[in-house]
Symmetry: C2
Amino acid sequence: MQEFPDWLHSRAATVPERVALIAQDRQWTFSELDTEADRAARRLASLGVREGDHVATILKAGFTSAVLPHATLRLGATLVPLNTRLSEKELEWQIDDIDPRIVIRDEASLAAASEMDVDLRRAHPSTSVLAVIYTSGTTGHPKGAMLTVGNFWWSAIGSALNLGTRPRDRWLACLPLFHVGGLSILIRSAIYGITAVVHDGFDADAVNVAIENNEVSIVSVVAVMLQRMLDARPDSPYPPSLRCVLVGGGPVPRSLLDRCASLLIPVVQTYGLTETCSQIATISPEDAIRKLGSSGKPLYPNELRISHDAEILVRGPVVMKGYAGRPAETSSTIVDGWLHTGDAGSIDDDGFLFVLDRRDDLIITGGENVYPAEVEAALSSHPSVAEAGVVGARDAEWGQRVVAFVKLKDSTHADTPSLTAHCSLQLGSFKIPREFRFTEEPLPRTAAGKLRRSALREMLEGTNAGPE
Amino acid sequence: MQEFPDWLHSRAATVPERVALIAQDRQWTFSELDTEADRAARRLASLGVREGDHVATILKAGFTSAVLPHATLRLGATLVPLNTRLSEKELEWQIDDIDPRIVIRDEASLAAASEMDVDLRRAHPSTSVLAVIYTSGTTGHPKGAMLTVGNFWWSAIGSALNLGTRPRDRWLACLPLFHVGGLSILIRSAIYGITAVVHDGFDADAVNVAIENNEVSIVSVVAVMLQRMLDARPDSPYPPSLRCVLVGGGPVPRSLLDRCASLLIPVVQTYGLTETCSQIATISPEDAIRKLGSSGKPLYPNELRISHDAEILVRGPVVMKGYAGRPAETSSTIVDGWLHTGDAGSIDDDGFLFVLDRRDDLIITGGENVYPAEVEAALSSHPSVAEAGVVGARDAEWGQRVVAFVKLKDSTHADTPSLTAHCSLQLGSFKIPREFRFTEEPLPRTAAGKLRRSALREMLEGTNAGPE
């Protein structure tokens, strides 16, 4: 396939009356959403957007941000959804980097634009860049990953061939739509002809209501969201209409997986990156319990292997076209077709992927490798620990030493000796934190809920400032 | 995608323990079936099969015929499954036409062959011919439709995006595996990672048992099979595990659709041809009742239109590569990418396809078009009629006149006046048969259960022989 007929437009032809989008207490059928996408495209055209242009947005999750990916595609333009939580300075940097035709940060002014009578595309080349998404950039400057029409298609098909797809599915997007985890739900739902339910931000109670009362069948979350969802309700199973809780964005604490298993919550772990257009490996439903903690196997037709130094490498049609305007960084990241993820992982004898950590976060202490996620999982299994983040601090003797940031649950108590004793039951001695920092603030996280260990390292350096 | 990683082999890697095949009272997991496909490929190699060869088979439906499509693919060879119901003379003609390296008509001798140590392909070019399937050839000589790896892939994906796919699906193949309707179930089940249940021939009781006791969730049938399934059991719904009865192979009598609707049987009408690798249009689940009688809309990303003279034309990645060894017939059938199906149809205002008939079967009487299927449906709604077949007889006055062959149900009665009266309630006067031929034999059908109107015409001509 060199060209894909427009997904939303095709669904408007085949299932016009099916509900395509639920957002902001309203719903739109595929026919209605298709019409709205055309109108938005004509408005963008009247604002000067043409084929090949970048359209940057700084928008909350909702109707407008759900329509725009389809609208820009129909103009042959590329959507660049920027992170609404960035500072003005950070936004300026990214806008300067991507050089968009326009920046949309106000829904009302877009809605007020006139509609220009232009020809809209009804088919899209596989290699067209549908969106540029800036990666969180745990270190260095952010980079814009160019994700093509083909990337999104193969991501959707690979997921469908693993999790299945049902005409009555409702997939809840409570991840930001400016991240690939959220945006890919919008595109996938048009490809599948299912309903995307869009929440503006994550609210545990709102998610629980959507699952319990509004027939959400699939929800994509990161571990800390799932934790909050469970904490916000009695320990009981969700209704059977919920068939999949897709958990990505980093390792999931074993204690959380065990809790879900005991509640018969259909948790499915996945591993994905912006650069692979979301999921690249996802566990199959029947292995989710048996291989608890694994992210499964690569989605068809992608390949995955571990390099000699434990890095996860990925090849296949979901791998991004490259970083916008950065040929050097693209060619050092994608080598011979293999994307170097920067994550460390292992594959067991049955072929299951276990993601260990960001390689950048790896702590080397006395020549031993310590994966922070493993230590965080041990800490999280302590009944008093609400959140834990582990990083390496420079150490004259050991090179690095393991430091844990810990936020305790309200009205509980734990101290360094008790946490050390708890860890020693689960971890080798070199992995046990040498230092605990207790905090009453939530740990720093990205908009997607991922722990920002780089921020923890900065906090360490702020207090331990000294010569390099 | 230029190349597809081997579907069965990929499933053996991702879900090795899932059941891939149930046949002949045994079952095979994906891991086991993958191993068997390798063994069969090595046996074929020892029998001389090489890349590019044709492998003809004359086999009943079962383990061997289910494994061979994967085995030939791994050698870069093409399967040519021949119709087991043909006469020796007809088989000789097709074998001579396709010139295979070997003809397999004995499972035991294949199983006894030694295994040659050859390299087996683990990925297949999209344009490789997976199978050549001879079309029934209602007129003239049969032609071998070349169906590629890409044809089967897109057929499976288009169907999944319409009907959905579930990891626990079980798809029953009671259609012959030498027809595309059966073969495509085998390939699709490997792509989806679901269980194919293979019956050797259609037996209404066996199908009912498979649905009622063995969790078959989808079954592909033609109308007459469905009729027999219902006649063989009390009028009650099937269990909810049956989510789809896919009915193709020709128009479905309205009375049968109504009966299924009243029993809440999830009938989904489809339209497909050998030349489109099975389904090209299928109704979506929510429209199956509302648009009773329609075959729905084209499956993504295929296109469908009606020519100025009512012929159904099809374009898209499911359209065959061509007829083997027949470039002239290929280029008269596929014109500018559009396959001329030879079927007559219409599309209503909502975009739903209604298949009227084979254009070859169209009866023109006094300048009026009569579609036999419409008349047959009217006759079938009479309580005494078991089967009806309608054709045109040469008529000096009207050009053609409408003749009906009728088989009555046991212990019932109906005569020409009563059937004429019945038809006149439903049909315009020019459509009412001028002549009824009552028969006690079942009407002639293809192995797939399709009515063979050409045979009825021959019966007419045998009795009405006269100068052209």
